[in-house]
Amino acid sequence: MTARDLIPIAVLTLLAALLPLVVTSSPVLNFLVFMLIVALGAQGWNILGGFGGQFSFGHAAFFGTGAYVTAILQLRYGVNAWAGLVLAVAAGAAVGWVIGFLSFRSGLRGSYFALVTLAFAEVFRILANAASFTGGAAGLLIKLDVHPANLQFADRAVFYWLVLALVAAVLLLTRWIQRSRFGAQLVAVRENEDAAKALGVNSLTVKLRAIALSGGVTALSGCLYAQYFLYIDANIAYGSWISVELLLAPIIGGVGTVFGPVVGALTLHGLGEVAKQFAGRIPGIDLIVFGGVLVLAVAFARGGILGLLERLRDRGRGMVTRGPKEVSHAGR
């Protein structure tokens, strides 16, 4: 990685870190924290779905695992919240590896992989909803005990900075993946698995690494969700809403790009808030916007917002418009 790789990430993170100094309203900070948590989970999705081309429709399996592991460790075993966070990430990576091992070994790709991940998430949801160990349908309430050691802060801004720092760390991780040999192999598998294999890439290992990383990052976001809102149940943690959120953000922002998930999460939730302001109390209005934006993005902007910007820039310079396929390669 070079300075050119690091500077944009550092500058954007610093700018975002200044926000709480300007904005002090709790609803706005809540919104920002939630959006960053979604962005973080979406970054996880993007490692597997964006760079690896394996579209998961069930990333709730990892998000929920992160949330439940951290909550259960604290509630049932009195484990420290920070240790819980680390273990949650490990659990997410392990679940990712197992799901990946089962489905990639059977050669599931494309729609079949999407379906099997969806089914795994549903199985987890039903189990968590039925077992008393996970609090059943009543869910789990993490005890309010504000102390940095418990990963609970009196000031919302501190949590915001924590999540922001982790988002920045994953931005760096993603940039590193993009520049690494592993990243190149992953993209090769996405573009043409058979050709990659013929060139000596062990596609199973590469995909397993990607899904474990992806699961770990998404579990981290689930863990932060539980830690911030202090309540989870099966329909929140393993619900299909989060699978959809985590997949929408990178696709809207720019699939397989470093900043795509963050841009997408920001855009979607920004639009959702605007729609809520305009339409008042109509339930589901933000989701109508999400769905509409998804269809439009697939129809007219296949590289997402970043891909669109890139094309506009190229056009402004008088260059030939890049096709959508090339934009996704450009890896912004």
Binding site: A119, I282, I288, L294, R302
Partner: protein, 290 residues
């Protein structure tokens, strides 16, 4: 322990619920077989049809079975339009895109229904909702029995359409070899849209059969669509008899799991079968090659 009679009754009830699953899956598998796409909007479209049946009953006083008759062409037109003017053009013929576009559509449809009807659960009641038919010592639900009969008839009709009409021939041609079909003068986008319309028309029938004994809310489609995916995968993607048998089988499995494991865990059997079939034999029990 459970008496054999209870188990037999549960199995028969499951068989009858399974018939409706089969109808839903029939549409899904038809669309998959021809367009080679997984229609994520299938559940949301079913919810639309169920609300239409409810509206026909609540506002026009129409019997849910009777409501099927006008609803079938309506859903056909809706499906035709969606494929022709939204899904087809928006997805540029790429599988991953189609998955995303239909996902987007399902989110929009579901939440439009939520915006209009709120999240309340609605039911309709008819004179026959709770009627039972005695078969020896067994008591069978009358509306579900009708559901089973109609599902078998609709599968048969669909098979006739596919195998005995020119449109059906065109659909089969496109399913086998899109380019070749195009070369001999078949309008492929039209055939795609007709297939999608037929798949949606199956949902109209399923909705009419479900409503006398079931309820509707904007999120209900999600519960069915995963089951329908399971049926389709189990029966082999694109296979009509596979969908019928798969649907019946899944209905029985769900009913028996519900009996032995309780309602909250009942559906888990379905998903475990789903995962197992995907992992071991993704082409399904009746499917051709992958």
């Amino acid at each position: 322990m459970y008496s054999p009679q209870i188990i037999l009754e549960a199995a028969l009830n499951g068989l009858m619920t399974g018939a409706v699953y089969a109808l839903i899956a029939l549409g899904l598998t038809l669309i998959y077989g021809v367009l080679h796409i997984i229609n994520f909007a299938h559940g949301a479209l079913l919810t639309c049809a169920m609300f239409a049946v409810w509206i026909a009953w609540a506002w026009l006083g129409m019997d849910p079975y009777l409501a099927i008759l006008p609803l079938v062409p309506l859903m056909f037109v809706l499906g035709y339009g969606l494929q022709r003017f939204v899904i087809g053009p928006a997805s540029h013929g790429d599988d991953g895109n189609i998955l995303l576009v239909t996902l987007g559509l399902s989110i929009v449809l579901e939440n439009l229904l939520l915006a209009v009807f709120q999240s309340d659960t609605r039911t309709l009641d008819t004179d026959y909702s709770f009627q039972v038919v005695a078969l020896g010592p067994l008591l069978l639900s009358y509306p579900r029995l009708i559901g089973l009969g109609v599902a078998v008839v609709v599968t048969g009709l669909l098979w006739l359409v596919l195998n005995r009409t020119d449109t059906g021939k065109a659909i089969r041609a496109v399913a086998k070899e899109k380019l070749g079909a195009n070369l001999v003068g078949i309008d492929v986008p039209h055939v795609y849209a007709v297939t999608f319309g037929l798949g949606c028309a199956c949902l109209a029938v399923a909705a009419g059969l479900l409503m006398p004994t079931f309820y509707v809310n904007p999120r209900i489609g999600g519960a069915f669509v995963l089951v329908a995916f399971t049926v389709v995968v189990l029966g082999g993607m694109g296979s009509l008899p596979g969908a019928l048998l798969g649907g019946l089988f899944i209905g029985v499995v769900e009913s028996l799991c519900g009996l032995f494991l309780g309602d909250s865990l009942g559906q888990i059997g379905i998903f475990l079968i789903f995962i197992a079939v995907l992992l071991v034999r993704p082409t399904g029990l009746f499917g051709a090659k992958a």
